[in-house]
């Protein structure tokens, strides 16, 4: 959308991430230098800029284009904003015959256009599925944001949040005492409802599992219902687990801004927490892009999985520590599905009989990672879990799910109030698909495994005349169907001492 711009990061947000506080004087040369630097570092980036043949396959695949009808939101249009400058400075034809090859100088107007349109891309990678060359607009968009940051133009939403992660430990800015208090409150709530002491432990050394989850799980709805679900599953499995106040965030927004250095720094916080707490496994809550970072990048960033730098003492130490008998890292859905398959959970599906469910595949899980040990596990496992805890399930139309899923409209650092119009318009394709199954199959709820998706839908559903609480967490459904060992119908019937004794 013409003129759409998110708020600029303040100088102190910028500086805490190692970027200039405001637009620098020699921004032109610095930007071109940075582009050259990225072209050298990421071969894929250059291939994507070189290989587009303008076939048009991507044009109607972006949800922001479908919602705004702005040609610059066609994936090829978005790529060309950067490609045209690349051609001018880095290709023979563009240097000498710029007009013939659509090459143009980097001007202030171009820079402004970059800022606007690379913040109307949620880096969801749907277009890359349909591109015959597999050109990944997300990577181009990340590079553009990295160039913008390097000349002092950052986005407030992402950069302020990354700074909070460094100083407080999570995106929200939730300090340890508030986190502790919130967790105790949730324990009390479960006890009141079920009469069982289910714990949500914080900073407990010697636990087997460190759970990393988006801080929205502590704060927002329906996220928090999912968090209670994880806790109840751990409880039933008899696993010692813990959260960390130092790394109380799974999200890694540095991926959105394409900053490898910051992404590494954020990932290392989780490594430090894992080493300090002495855990053997690291597990992921319901967070889409964080799962991509963990699954695809943690090995070189922090030494989780294979491929740690032999000279990186902490990465080596972590590789020694983590138990190779389990997926490293592991997704909470993989964990829960394994328990369900082994009949370790007592599930009463009828608890969810008031609902007809559908599942929204979150883009970073669907198109940038996997779950389980078979191709497509990231599509099947969440669906199998939902069908194990609910009697009524229907998929949305095939061209809007799995690898073709539509973004919620708020991913990639766009989940901010100053981009509300873009978010509402970008949600349109998903809302239309949802509406189809509402009308045809009486779907009442849509489940997701990403904090951004959940918050985005809670906000935009009402714009499409659907109730905000239609969006639910997958582990919220698990929670509601899970019958805890020794469960009663409420506090009145329970003996707290006995419940505690059972637990120990």
């Amino acid at each position: 959308m013409e003129g759409t711009k998110p708020f600029f990061a303040k100088p102190d947000h910028q500086k805490s991430l190692g970027f200039p506080g405001e637009l620098i004087e020699n921004w032109h040369d610095t930007a071109i230098g940075k582009m050259g630097d990225l072209l050298g570092k990421y071969r894929s980036f250059q291939v994507y800029l070189d290989s587009c043949v303008k076939c048009g396959a991507c044009t109607d695949k972006c949800h922001y284009y479908l919602g705004t009808k702005d040609p610059k939101n066609m994936p090829v249009g978005r790529q060309d904003l950067l490609r045209s400058v690349y051609r001018r400075y880095f290709t023979f034809a563009g240097k000498y015959f710029p007009k013939l090859v659509g090459a143009r100088d980097l001007t202030r107007e171009v820079l402004d256009d970059w800022y606007s349109y690379f913040h109307q891309c949620s880096q969801c990678r749907r277009c890359s599925v349909f591109c015959p060359y597999g050109i990944d607009t997300a990577e181009i968009s990340m590079a553009a944001r990295e160039i913008l940051d390097s000349v002092g133009i950052g986005q407030k939403y992402c950069n302020e949040i990354i700074g909070k992660c460094y100083t407080i430990g999570n995106n929200l800015g939730l300090p340890e005492p508030a986190l502790r208090d919130t967790l105790e409150d949730l324990e009390e709530e479960i006890f009141e409802e079920r009469g069982v002491r289910v714990r949500l432990p914080l900073d407990e050394e010697g636990a087997d599992v460190l759970l990393i989850t988006p801080s929205a799980d502590f704060f927002a709805e329906p996220h928090v219902d999912g968090l209670m679900g994880y806790a109840m599953v751990f409880h039933e499995a008899g696993i010692k687990w813990t959260l960390s106040s130092y790394a109380s965030e799974a999200a890694n927004f540095s991926m959105f801004i394409g900053s490898y250095e910051n992404m590494k720094k954020q990932a290392e916080r989780i490594r430090k927490a894992a080493l300090d707490l002495g855990v053997k496994r690291i597990m992921h809550g319901e967070c889409g892009h964080a799962w991509r970072v963990a699954y695809s990048f943690w090995n070189t960033l922090a030494g989780v999985g294979h491929g740690a730098d032999p000279n990186d003492k902490y990465a080596q130490e972590l590789q020694q520590r983590l138990d190779p008998n389990f997926p490293v890292p592991q997704h909470i859905c993989e964990f829960t599905w394994d328990l369900i398959q082994r009949n370790q959970l007592n599930l009463d599906k009828s608890a969810n009989d008031d609902k007809v469910l559908t599942f929204h595949d979150s883009c970073n899980v669907a198109r940038a990672s996997r779950m389980g040990d078979t191709p497509g596990g990231q599509f099947e496992i969440p669906r199998k879990i939902i069908q194990a805890v609910c009697n009524n399930y229907v998929d949305m139309p095939r061209d809007t799910i799995k690898e073709s899923t539509f973004c919620c409209g708020g991913g990639g650092g766009l989940l901010t109030d100053d981009l509300m119009e873009v978010r509402v318009k970008g949600a349109q394709p998903r809302m239309e698909a949802l509406n189809r199954v509402v009308e045809d199959h009486g779907v009442t709820n849509m489940a997701a495994i990403c904090a951004i998706c959940k918050s985005q839908f809670a906000k935009v559903l009402p714009y499409y005349k659907m109730p905000m609480d239609m969006i639910v967490s997958v582990h919220q459904l698990v929670r509601d169907a899970l019958v805890l060992t020794g469960q009663t119908n409420g506090e009145a019937e329970a003996d707290p001492d006995e419940a505690q004794a059972e637990e120990s």
Partner: protein, 110 residues
């Protein structure tokens, strides 16, 4: 952005949140609510006051679940729901009520 209350200039950021949280007064809250097209009824004051108390202790606004439970305990179960809070603060209790209470905006995936 800025506005005047009792001859004092009150600065807000681009989203309308107070820059200097210590400047907050009830008069300013009324003014901020006006900007949100909300009238500060006693029901809204109850929430705003609770948010401020919680913030003083924990340096952050309470989680939605913490808020609904606290409201339920204090004002009766029928009010301890997010539906009730959204009726009072249609743009969301976390963000809109925080703004009026003079607290920083909750950030992240919320």
């Amino acid at each position: 952005m800025a506005f005047e209350v009792d001859g004092k200039t009150i600065e807000t950021d681009e989203e309308g949140y107070l820059v200097d949280l210590s400047q907050w007064t009830e008069e300013i809250a009324n003014k901020l609510a006006e900007g949100e097209n909300l009238e500060m009824t006693s029901d809204r004051w109850e929430i705003v006051n609770f948010l401020r108390e919680y913030y003083q202790e924990y340096q952050i606004a309470p989680a939605v679940r913490v808020l609904t439970k606290a409201v339920g305990k204090k004002l009766g179960k029928d009010k301890g729901t997010s539906k009730y809070l959204y009726e009072l603060f249609p743009y969301g209790p976390a963000k809109q009520a925080c703004k009026i209470a003079g607290l920083p905006k909750p950030t992240g995936c919320v």
